[in-house]
């Protein structure tokens, strides 16, 4: 049960509001949590100080700070683009510089609770207005300074390309000539800042290539794994493959004699806090015990693990297995009627489903399941740290960088941490969990202490996990097993909806707030939990809809078919018939609840894009499926066309995506790329991705047992994307495109073959990509 505690810690960690380093974490998990976070009284805005973000160079070029972690979602471009557009400079005049972790950025953009984080598709909605404020304040300061220098009223001055112009006299002043006076003006109150009319944007909404692309295509060091401070050593870290296991002993003296190995030591678990001692502020910082091997190259450290003999105390978790969890779930089903009735985010009961089933003309029942999956970003977990003179410096790929992650294991204060944020080779939620930052900081401290005793200088150390380490020690997407039952009246109208969920772990896979809730008079969702379940689970791109969308949008499809209706039109009809009074649309859509009109909008758009109404003309073995999802404040609908042959060879012929994330796409190129990538990830979930547990450890070891989608599986021009411009505030795009990709494919398989897919992945059921 050790890991269960750890898992609960993570849960509370995700809800914690104040982060070391001045950040605030808002709703990484679910819309209800987003909402509850939003309800708190917003803290007072601080004055905006653009000089923290903008450096003006004598040649009238500009360095703009990118303050959030970049893992491939394009935020290193997007936020500086917002500043540059409001500042009224040309993108070609801009250089981008990644910031360190420092609370001054939140303070000086006027939003002291907005952190430097990547998670929950929050970076755009949280930072869009503050970044506009930074750019606009800087422009206003330039104008105010120019008014004095040109002796002209501010109202007669215009800006363009980093130049202030007094049109009447034809006189001009470059930002460079004004900068010294302008950017030393006192910070500006948010209420005094006048923003551009979005119709005047010149950079936002265009296609702006990634700022790091030239370095990436020429192989220049760009990623966390490439960080290489002088004198650095490399560490491998062996942890118990059984979750929660502890080191009893290890042959570290033998390991120290191996080629290239400089140090080898057992890393003990965190010491229990003395009775009565206060926990340090911020989220708990824990690490798993293990054996660290430090060598002159990582290969030497990793190779030495072959000779490593560790006696582990595996604990009771070794008795757990996927087969055991499933046996429990099958037993839980008989107790569904006794499950807690409703209330809270994990269950819901409206009307009387049992009574409605008795009156129903037709009842549909089905069992669905989706497995645990791993994130598997392509860059294996790593981090680099240097403990020296009582301080620690860290180079981290984390999505939620935290000074405490380095300070606590190194035994120093957060003020003793220098925290560099380095580009990560993929995130997908994996780098919300930062064991590697914590482990490397502990190893760096122990290494420095051991070297000091031997009279050796302190050196930096890079901890790199192997791919197998990452597969074995992830925070997995939680699994779920769903017992569905739906009642239809004689006209095929949905009158009762029941879902009993056998859930794994204490993370949300319960569709208690999910469509069709609010559109059916009798709705009951409840859960029974498997336990003990000691596998760490967490947020993978688009939690929790990345699994829920598959089961809900597939079962809705079954209901439509049972009703004898067009599945797309059936969804539209349901969305047009709210039960009770629908909530008024909330135009500031970040954190707002489900908006049926926006869901209908993406469904109607994708129907038109995909020639949906002519799908009956498709040849035998080819079919189109539809699905939509409200995820992380965005609305995405797919139609997918697949072909399936008699040997279950499956091909995605084409996918059409309609996306509504509000009024302003920041970077049109990256936005399209993210949607296409979300679909491709959905194909991996669909066909191949599953983590299974045996003996308390993960069975799958590497990509050969966990195949990602490959290029040949994707037809040319396979994903066509359309963004709907709506008058809602702009929200994020890292997550929403993934969830409905999966049910759109499975519903297309049904349309092509008449076989309903109720379990993932498909590879286990004899399917393969052509």
């Amino acid at each position: 049960m050790k890991t269960m505690t750890k898992q609960l810690d993570r849960r509370s960690f995700l809800k914690v509001s104040a982060l070391a380093g001045g950040g605030m974490l808002i709703g990484l998990y679910t819309e209800p949590e987003l909402l509850s976070q939003q309800r708190g009284a917003p803290p007072a805005p601080t004055p905006v100080n653009p000089s923290t973000f903008i450096t003006v160079h004598p040649d009238n070029t500009f360095t703009i700070i990118a303050k959030n972690p970049e893992t491939g979602q394009g935020i290193r471009n997007a936020l500086p683009m917002v500043i540059a557009d409001e500042f009224d400079v040309d993108w070609k005049q801009v250089k981008i510089q990644q910031s360190d972790l420092d609370p001054k950025y939140a303070r000086d953009m006027g939003a002291p609770t907005v952190g430097q984080i990547e998670g929950g598709s929050t970076a755009t909605p949280q930072n869009y207005t503050p970044m506009r404020n930074v750019g606009a304040a800087a422009r206003m300061m330039m104008i105010a300074t120019a008014a004095k220098q040109l002796n002209a009223p501010e109202s007669e001055l215009t800006t363009e390309s980093g130049v202030v112009t007094h049109t009447k006299s034809g006189r001009k002043a470059t930002y460079a000539s004004l900068a010294q006076a302008a950017l030393s003006m006192p910070p500006m109150a948010v209420t005094d800042i006048k923003l551009k009319d979005p119709k005047d944007f010149k950079i936002l909404g265009t296609r702006v290539p990634g700022v790091d692309n030239p370095a990436i295509v020429t192989g220049k060091p760009s990623f966390s794994i490439d960080v290489n401070p002088p004198g650095m050593l490399y560490a491998a870290y062996e942890k118990c493959p059984v979750f929660g296991g502890k080191v009893v002993s290890a042959n570290v003296d033998d390991i120290k004699k191996l080629p290239g190995v400089k140090h080898a030591f057992i890393v003990p678990p965190p010491e229990p806090r003395p009775a009565g001692a206060q926990a340090p502020a911020g989220p708990p910082v824990n690490w798993a015990p293990g054996v660290a091997i430090v060598a002159d190259t990582w290969w030497h450290a990793q190779n030495a693990r072959k000779q490593l003999k560790v006696v582990w105390d595996e604990g009771d978790v070794a008795k757990q297995s996927s087969a055991g969890y499933m046996a429990q779930i099958k037993q839980l089903a008989s107790k569904a009627s006794e499950a807690p009735a409703g209330g809270g985010p994990r269950s819901a009961k409206e009307g009387d489903v049992e009574a409605a089933f008795k009156t129903a003309a037709k009842v549909v029942e089905a069992e669905y399941e989706f497995p645990l999956i791993a994130h598997a970003p392509l860059e294996p977990q790593n981090s680099t740290a240097w403990f020296k003179d009582g301080k620690i410096e860290i180079w981290s790929p984390a999505q939620i960088p935290s000074l405490n992650d380095a300070a606590v294991p190194a035994g120093v204060q957060p003020s003793d941490v220098t925290f560099h944020m380095v580009r990560a080779g993929g995130g997908f939620g994996r780098r919300l969990y930062k064991e590697y930052d914590i482990e490397v900081s502990k190893i760096a401290r122990m290494l420095a202490d051991e070297r000091a005793k031997a009279g050796q200088p302190s050196v930096p150390v890079k901890l790199l996990w192997s791919r197998e380490d990452d597969m074995a020690h992830d925070d997995y997407r939680p699994a779920g097993y769903h017992y569905f039952k739906a009642g239809l009246d004689a006209n095929g109208k949905l009158i009762a909806f029941r879902d009993f969920v056998g859930s794994y772990g204490n993370t949300s896979v319960i569709p208690a707030t999910e469509f069709p809730r609010g559109f059916v008079p009798n709705f009951w969702v409840s859960e029974g939990q498997v336990g003990p379940f000691s596998i760490p689970t967490g947020a993978l791109r688009a939690p929790s809809t990345n699994g829920i969308s598959f089961v809900m949008q597939s079962f809705i499809d079954e209901i439509a078919v049972a009703a004898g209706k067009d599945p797309l039109q059936y969804r539209l009809d349901l969305l047009a018939s709210p039960v009770g009074t629908p909530a008024a649309p909330n135009r500031t859509s970040f954190g707002a609840g489900f908006n049926a009109a926006r869901a209908r909008g993406v469904l109607e758009a994708v129907r038109d894009m995909s020639d949906w109404n002519n799908r009956s003309k498709l040849p035998k073995g080819t079919g189109k499926g539809v699905a939509f999802q409200f995820a992380h404040s965005g609305y995405v609908a797919y139609v997918v066309q697949v072909s399936v042959d008699s040997s279950k060879k499956l091909k995605v012929d084409k996918a059409w995506a309609a996306v509504d994330i509000g009024e302003q796409i920041l970077n049109a190129s990256q936005a399209e790329n993210l949607v296409q990538g979300g679909f491709v990830e959905g194909m991996s979930h669909m066909m191949a991705w599953e983590i299974t547990i045996d003996g308390g450890k993960v069975v799958q070891g590497n990509f050969n047992q966990y195949q990602p989608t490959r290029m040949r599986q994707l037809a040319p021009a396979a994903v066509e994307v359309k963004f709907l411009k709506t008058d809602y505030t702009t929200t994020g795009l890292g997550e929403p495109s993934l969830p409905p990709a999966v049910p759109a494919i499975s519903n297309a398989i049904f349309a092509a073959t008449g076989i309903r897919i109720r379990s993932l992945p498909l590879g286990k059921q004899g399917y393969s990509w052509t």
């Binding site: 692309n213 020429t218 190259t297 990509f703 989608t709 040949r712």
Partner: protein, 154 residues
């Protein structure tokens, strides 16, 4: 044991065990970081380099087997980022996280060297060993065609 390697046109001598993979010789001994580690079993293609123009996985290539062959890494593809594939990658803004892209480009460069005008099927066949976890395959394929067409869209 000392090995003299020809890497990107330069001669480099390293003293490493015979079985050390070329990937780690490049990354940790020679500090040539463009070639990436993804899986260590030849299943992802992030470590793709060329040996005498042939795309190989550096994580599966023991240093003792390299001999006199010319090793080319992403850093040696061009001196200034002017290889048609590098230009095409920039034109189409291919990367998301970017971690796989050096390997993708090295596989694509080997393909174009032997098949200057590849079909979609040629590309799929040559590129199937290179994983892009972010899913930029549509742009990768388009960029290879773009480079093959001298930078003009077909």
């Amino acid at each position: 044991m000392p090995y003299t390697l020809k890497i990107n046109g330069q001669s480099k001598t390293v003293d490493v065990p015979a079985e050390m993979p070329l990937l780690w010789v490049l990354r940790d001994v020679l500090n040539i970081k463009g070639t990436k580690f993804g899986c260590g079993i030849g299943a992802c293609g992030a470590c793709t380099v060329q040996l005498n123009g042939r795309a190989v996985r550096a994580c599966q290539t023991q240093v003792s087997t390299v001999g006199n062959q010319e090793v080319k890494t992403i850093e040696g593809l061009s001196s200034d980022g002017s290889h048609p594939l590098q230009k095409a990658w920039l034109t189409l803004d291919v990367p998301q996280c970017g971690y796989c892209q050096a390997g993708q480009i090295m596989s694509a460069a080997a393909l174009l060297a032997r098949t200057p005008k590849p079909t979609d099927a040629d590309i799929d066949s040559a590129m199937t060993g290179n994983v892009c976890r972010c899913g930029t395959y549509l742009r990768i394929r388009e960029a290879i065609h773009l480079a093959a067409n001298g930078g003009r869209k077909a």
